[in-house]
Symmetry: C2
Subunit: 216 residues, 2 copies
C-alpha cells in the first residue's frame, strides 16, 4: 500500500526566493511526507533481528546518511491490534522509537499519542514490537512526530531562525492549509527539508500543489 512507503516523497518543491530580503537566492525547499516507521537501538536490533545484525539499505533518504532499511517489524497496540510491515529507518539510534500518524495510532488501538520531536519520548506510550528473531516490549517510544524543518546554519541565517524556533509552512490549493508549529532543527549536515506525516500531507493535499511557502 502506498501509505506504507517510508519517507514517500510527495512533493519536492524548488522555491526560488530570488533576492528576497536582499539575501540572495533562497535554498531549495523539499517538503516530504514521512509514512509511519521505526528507529531502533543496537540492543533492540539484537533481539529483533539477531545478535550483531545490521540494518541494510533499501533506499537512501534525502538527508545524507539516513536510509529506509529493508528490515521491517510488526507492532502490537494496546487492544491487540496490529500493524505489520512497519519499516525501520537507519542508521541505528540510541533509543528505539516508533513514529505514527494519528490515523495509524487509531488503527493500532490508541485513543491518543503525543505530538513530539524525535527523541523526546518521556511519558509516551509503548507497545510490543516483533521481528523475525524475537520481540521487545517498548515501555515508551510511540509518538506522533511533530512537523519540523531540517536546515543547515546557512539556511537558518537566510530565514533568520535559530534552533528551537518555530516557522510556518503554507500549502496552497483547494485544501490549502498553513502549519503553524514547524519546529526548526539545525545541523551542519542537513539539507533544507520539511517533514510532515501522512495525515498532514493528506489533509493539505500536498500532492496537488506546488504553491508552498516556508516562513518565519
Amino acid at each position: 500500500m502506498d501509505r506504507t512507503l517510508v519517507e514517500q516523497i510527495v512533493r519536492q518543491v524548488a522555491l526560488e526566493y530570488l533576492g528576497r530580503n536582499g539575501k540572495g537566492p533562497a535554498p531549495q525547499l523539499a517538503v516530504m511526507a514521512s509514512a509511519r516507521h521505526m528507529h531502533v537501538c543496537r540492543e533492540d536490533m539484537d533481539v529483533l533481528f539477531g545478535k550483531g545484525s545490521e540494518l541494510t539499505v533499501y533506499k537512501d533518504l534525502y538527508q545524507a546518511g539516513n536510509f529506509a532499511a529493508n528490515e521491517k517489524v510488526t507492532i502490537v497496540g494496546p487492544r491487540g491490534r496490529v500493524i505489520s510491515g512497519l519499516r525501520i529507518l537507519g542508521p541505528m539510534r540510541k533509543q528505539s522509537q516508533v513514529e505514527l500518524a494519528f490515523t495509524d495510532a487509531i488503527m493500532l488501538g490508541f485513543d491518543d499519542i503525543p505530538v513530539r520531536l524525535s527523541g523526546d519520548l518521556k511519558g509516551s506510550p509503548g507497545g510490543i514490537v516483533m521481528g523475525p528473531k524475537g520481540a521487545i516490549t517498548l515501555k515508551e517510544g510511540i509518538i506522533r512526530a511533530a512537523i519540523h524543518v531540517h536546515m543547515n546554519p546557512a539556511e537558518a541565517a537566510y530565514f533568520g531562525v535559530k534552533q528551537g524556533d518555530k516557522m510556518k509552512l503554507r500549502v496552497g490549493g483547494g485544501a490549502g492549509a498553513t502549519f503553524n508549529e514547524v519546529h526548526v532543527r539545525i545541523d551542519p549536515a542537513s539539507r533544507l527539508n520539511v517533514h510532515m506525516d501522512t495525515d498532514e500531507a493528506n489533509a493539505c493535499g500536498l500532492h496537488l500543489t506546488k504553491d508552498i511557502e516556508l516562513f518565519k
Copy 2:
C-alpha cells in the same frame, strides 16, 4: 473502528467573542470531523435497499433534519479494493455521492480524488456500491468534501461574509494548523458549524485543543 463513525463530534467549541466588532456576543461555533459516508438518491436507494425502502435514523446530526442512518453499504474501488460499513447520511438527496478522506481514497485504490463542495460531482470518479438488495455503478460522485462552514444569515452578518466566500479556521496546539479554504455555506436552517474530514481533524489534532478560531 472509531474512524468509521459518521459525523463523529471530535470537538464542540463554544467561542464567545463577546462584543467583538461591537456586534454583540458571537454565535457558538461547533467544529466537527465527518468520517467517510454516502448520500443516496431515491433511485439508488430502491436498488440498494429495495423498492420504496426508507432510510432509518441511527443518530441525529448537528444540522436540523440531517441524520446518520442505520443503513450501510460497501464500496468497491478501481483496483477491486473494498470499504465496507460505509454509512449513509439522510435524508435522501437528488444525486448519490460518496465523501471520503484522502486516506480512505488511497485505501480504496484511488491515486487521487477531487476536493469538491457537496453536490459538485462533475468529472469525479465513480465506483461500485453494494447494498443488501443490489448494486449500483456510480459513474461519478466520489469526492473529498472541501472543508466548509454552515451558518445562517445572522451568523453570516456577524462575520461579514456571504455565500461562496472563504474563511480561515485556526486550530491551536502542538499540531496547530490554519485551514485557509473554508467555504461559507449560508442557509436559514443552519447552525454555525465547521465540517472537516478525518484527515484534517487528525492532522491538526482537533481532539487536543479548545483553541479554535474562525475568521474572515
